[in-house]
């Protein structure tokens, strides 16, 4: 595609929300933009959090700057990404063992940050949120909500493409090209075929999340990250209408975020070595902690089926020797390495949070524009994401159904077209046509990528039938070999299993055994020929 021939204005490293957000902003300001991601979109902290649309109240007491950023961005996201956001408000509840004094402190702090916070009567709280712990002694209502990070990333990605950005996933940066104290580009390796290429860019933006320090080190620059692991549980029913927070200093298992028809309980906070960040797994101890604290918020959780356990790593930037990372600011860190380290053409944007990704992108892009002497102002806070996305969807759908021609026996086009509306994934209501579109468009190589883009296999059954159905389409529409598709299917199931094996009890275990009966017993996927 000649990526190495072009010279880009800006090369952004990292396909998380910060990277795609920055790519959108840069592209909207007319910069020749390239985004590089070593794996797939949203594979780091972006896809592994509770999807909270923060009001900022959680930080109001200890970190008022972050809190003020949160509420500003909260209101912006409701406007620009309404299709990714659920507005349902949140409660901060006090239990008998909590100091009610903290409630007043919280409300006071919220108000000074511009966060609407209203003390409501515990009886009123029980009326509007019937599953809340009836022992509550106080409640504060704040404008929390939930946001679907996968859709948000996809919307930004499509929008960036619409504005002319080039995007390369499965391209890992292996070196920065430096000349006379200036970063002039990157050396990347295509992780699918191991080809290496050099790409030139005037400015390189390091938006690699927890891996930012690894990228910076390639340029001989030190950033000390503080990898803070957070474990979360997804429950199979939406037990609460609103976000429920515990009204005390931030601690383990003190927030319950409803989204769609599930509820997510978060989270723990433990420092982990950077080497563990590529494969974080949830431990029995973390599950015990989450359940112990979560059932205090909503007692019925103790008998609610758990769908999955998962964990992410917060890309915090270290400031002191804090043990768990709760005291570290969630504030944004935007480093101009020219000023900081005497290394021109290199910027790191890190810290922050999902909620403030747009502001992070704006800050990084402002810095890029400043260096390139580009005067155009940021418009990401006013131009909605879905407007462009709809157009992009149409552009993609022109390629629709072309893969059907490779299906033998197709003699009745009308028949097939109507069959497109069948659900391939019944839990998440993903249609056959939708999956075929994506595979035919060449945008997805694996079932796991399909899952991130469509939510296929993310529902109440862990890919029971849809995984094999989609694997078939990878062969017939995607033109891959059955060996590759069989291996991909096994990988997909194993990846889903990662979230299931730590919580194998009740219905989850019954379902897990059923899943094994289908894929091992009936199908013999474990004996599938790989030679």
């Amino acid at each position: 595609m000649g990526f190495s021939k072009k010279e880009y204005d800006v090369i952004i490293i990292g396909g998380g929300i910060t990277g795609v957000g920055t790519a959108r902003d840069c592209a909207m300001r007319g910069l020749k933009t390239l985004l590089l991601e070593r794996s797939d979109f949203a594979t780091g902290a972006t896809g592994r959090n509770h999807g909270l649309l923060h009001s900022g109240a959680r930080y109001a007491v200890n970190d008022p700057d972050s809190a003020a950023e949160c509420i500003r961005e909260n209101l912006i996201l409701r406007r620009i990404a309404s299709h990714c956001v659920e507005e349902h408000d949140g409660l901060f509840i006090s239990l008998p063992e909590d100091d009610l004094g903290y409630q007043y402190q919280l409300v006071e702090a919220c108000r000074s940050c511009g966060i609407p916070a209203e003390i409501i009567d515990p009886e009123e709280a029980k009326r509007i949120e019937p599953t809340v712990n009836p022992a509550l002694t106080g409640a504060v209502r704040v404008p929390d909500g939930s946001v679907d990070p996968f859709r948000l990333v996809q919307a930004n990605e499509l929008d960036a493409r619409m504005h002319g950005a080039d995007i390369l996933t499965y391209h890992e940066v292996i070196a920065l090209i430096t000349q006379a104290n200036r970063v002039e580009g990157v050396k990347v390796r295509n992780t699918q075929n191991n080809e290496e290429l050099e790409i030139r860019g005037k400015i390189t933006v390091n938006a690699a999340g927890i891996w930012s320090s690894t990228i910076a080190r390639m340029a001989g620059v030190e950033i000390t990250m503080f990898p803070s692991k957070g474990a979360l549980l997804i429950f199979a029913n939406r037990v609460n209408k609103m976000v429920i927070n515990r009204c005390h200093k931030a601690a383990n298992g003190d927030i319950l975020v409803p989204d769609g028809d599930v509820t997510i309980l978060g989270s723990t906070s433990d420092r982990v070595p950077i080497s563990e960040c590529d494969d974080v797994r949830v431990t029995p101890k973390e599950i015990a902690t989450l359940l112990r604290e979560g059932t205090k918020l909503v007692p019925v959780l103790s008998s609610t089926r758990i769908l999955r356990a998962y964990a992410g790593v917060r890309p915090l930037v270290a400031e002191d020797d804090e043990e768990a990372g709760r005291g570290i600011s969630r504030g944004i860190v935007c480093l101009d390495h020219e000023k900081r380290d005497g290394l021109a053409g290199f910027i790191t944007i890190t810290g922050g949070k999902l909620m403030t990704y747009r502001l992070m992108a704006e800050m990084a892009t402002d810095m890029v524009c400043d260096k390139l002497n580009v005067k155009r102002r940021c418009e990401t806070a006013v131009i909605a994401l879905n407007e462009a996305t709809d157009q992009t969807r149409k552009a993609i759908s022109r390629t629709t159904y072309k893969g059907l021609n490779s299906l033998p026996g197709k003699d009745d086009a009308a028949l097939w077209t109507s069959a497109e509306s069948l659900y391939l994934c019944e839990c998440e209501k993903v249609t056959l046509g939708e999956i075929k579109d994506l595979i035919a468009s060449g945008q997805v190589e694996t079932l796991t990528q399909l899952r991130r883009r469509t939510r296929m296999g993310m529902g109440k059954c862990p890919g029971r039938y849809c995984a094999l159905r989609a694997a078939r389409l990878m062969c017939s529409v995607g033109g891959k070999t059955t060996i590759d598709c069989g291996r991909d299917l096994a990988d997909f199931i194993n990846e889903r299993w990662k979230g299931i094996y730590p919580i194998t009890w009740d219905t989850t275990l019954a379902d897990a055994q059923y899943m094994a009966s289908v894929y091992k017993g009936l199908c013999g996927l474990d004996k599938f020929q790989t030679s």
Partner: protein, 427 residues
């Protein structure tokens, strides 16, 4: 003090029905209480005796391999010689129920899975595609037929598996007009949906014509096999017989993703046989509790708060997926009687019921009720004398990795039926 039933069997899956038939045909008065679907929902078309050894290598002669199983395996409790006799009895029982099968217990044959993998089998429904040696098939040419819009028959994988066995294979997808008009829900793509549509002579006739036409297009019809998804006849094999009569080429079916029509057919035929022998089935009767006094069950209760009494009881409620076993956060229980649980598992690194790789043998698979050698379950360390456990609720084996699930179900059922028969006083 005559009770209404001699034996009550809790659970109407493969093991419960087998025990029911075996006892009913000896003239006992048997009732089966059943609730919910059984694991026949995922039935492959084959019964398996013992497919793989401890290193997961395929076994050619299952009866010879049984001697080397650990003493905790249910087969070891039955004993090799007795087990061999019971395999004959199982085959006879299935024949009496009108179930046509191929295979024998002396040597495994191979079934072809929906992913085109060959797996060892003991007895296979006559209509299904099998291989004698796991490397060759009856003919060297095949046409796999799928039905347009049916997602649950992975033809691409089956073709790849067949081609590895040197069978030249083509795929043909046939539309069925009726599927269009009948489809009024986006969910309706299951095997059972197609079976309902095919339960119509005209549609079946047209389908057979279309199949014949497509194999003519693929060359000499006598020299190729027609492979269909198992989407016919939840009650019997009449539909397939009709297709066979109309199609010149040999026709075989391959299992689909669940629900398994082959399993539904097996279950229906066994149920019919049991009731024809005079047995009684209580549907939707979830047994919720039992009263145990002096190591004997005195009565059991259903969800409708009815209590029922019998001389002997058989527990055939299955493993976790059938809710015969229930895992709590801290421990595993048997929910009806609170029987002793045998974990039989080496502690996993996480200390949990499962390990981090789906494809490894999972510790939870070997969990089950702890029994003595006569399959009396233990409660607080003592056997419950008039209770027997059979099938997947038994501990000590991993059906996914040993390939012995349906064999354990049928053979422990027959072994227990013998024990019970001997336990009644001779007239």
């Amino acid at each position: 003090m005559s009770k209404e039933y001699d034996i009550i069997i809790i659970g109407g899956g493969l093991s419960g029905l087998t025990a029911g038939i075996a006892l009913q045909r000896k003239g006992r008065r048997v009732a089966i209480a059943t609730s919910g679907p059984s694991t026949l929902n995922t039935f492959s078309g084959s019964l398996e005796l013992l497919g793989y050894d401890s290193r997961e290598r395929p076994i050619a002669h299952p009866l010879d391999a049984i001697a080397s199983l650990p003493p905790t395996h249910p087969y070891s409790k039955i004993g090799t010689d007795r087990l061999a006799l019971l395999t004959q009895e199982a085959q006879a029982l299935l024949g009496e129920a009108g179930i046509m099968l191929k295979g024998n217990s002396a040597a495994n044959h191979w079934r072809i899975t929906p992913m085109g993998v060959a797996k060892p089998a003991w007895l296979t429904l006559d209509d299904c595609l099998t291989s004698d040696d796991g490397t060759t098939l009856p003919l060297s040419n095949a046409t796999i037929i799928n039905i347009a819009g049916f997602l649950d028959f992975p033809v691409e994988f089956i073709r790849a598996g067949l081609e590895q066995m040197s069978v030249h294979t083509s795929i043909c997808t046939l539309p069925i007009k009726a599927m269009q008009t009948r489809r009024n829900s986006q969910y309706e793509t299951r095997a059972t949906t197609i079976a309902r549509i095919m339960d119509n002579d005209d549609i079946l006739h047209d389908f057979a014509d279309a199949v014949s036409a497509s194999c003519t297009a693929n060359g000499n019809s006598a020299k190729q096999m027609i492979l269909l998804p198992a989407v016919f006849g939840p009650t019997g094999n009449e539909a397939l017989t009709k297709l066979r009569n109309q199609i010149e080429s040999p026709v075989y079916v391959i299992a689909t993703l669940p629900p398994s029509l082959l399993g539904m057919r097996l279950q229906t035929q066994l149920r019919n046989h049991f009731t024809q022998l005079g047995g009684k089935i209580f549907h939707d009767a979830r047994v919720t509790a039992g009263t145990i006094r002096n190591n004997e069950i005195t009565s059991i209760a259903t969800g409708y708060s009815e209590t029922v009494e019998a001389e002997r009881y058989i527990l055939a409620t299955g493993s976790f997926q059938s809710h015969g076993l229930v895992a709590g956060y801290r421990r595993v229980i048997e929910p009806i009687f609170g029987l002793d649980i045998d974990t039989n598992a080496k502690a996993s690194p996480q200390g949990g019921l499962a390990t981090g790789s789906f494809f490894e043998p999972q510790p939870f698979m070997t969990y089950g009720v702890h029994t003595d050698d006569a399959f009396h379950p233990l409660k607080s360390g003592l056997p419950v004398n008039n209770l027997y456990a059979i099938g997947s609720i038994l501990s000590g084996h991993n059906t996914h990795h040993q390939g012995d699930g349906t064999g354990v179900s049928m053979l422990t059922a027959l072994a227990v039926a013998q024990e019970i028969e001997q336990s009644f006083p001779k007239p």
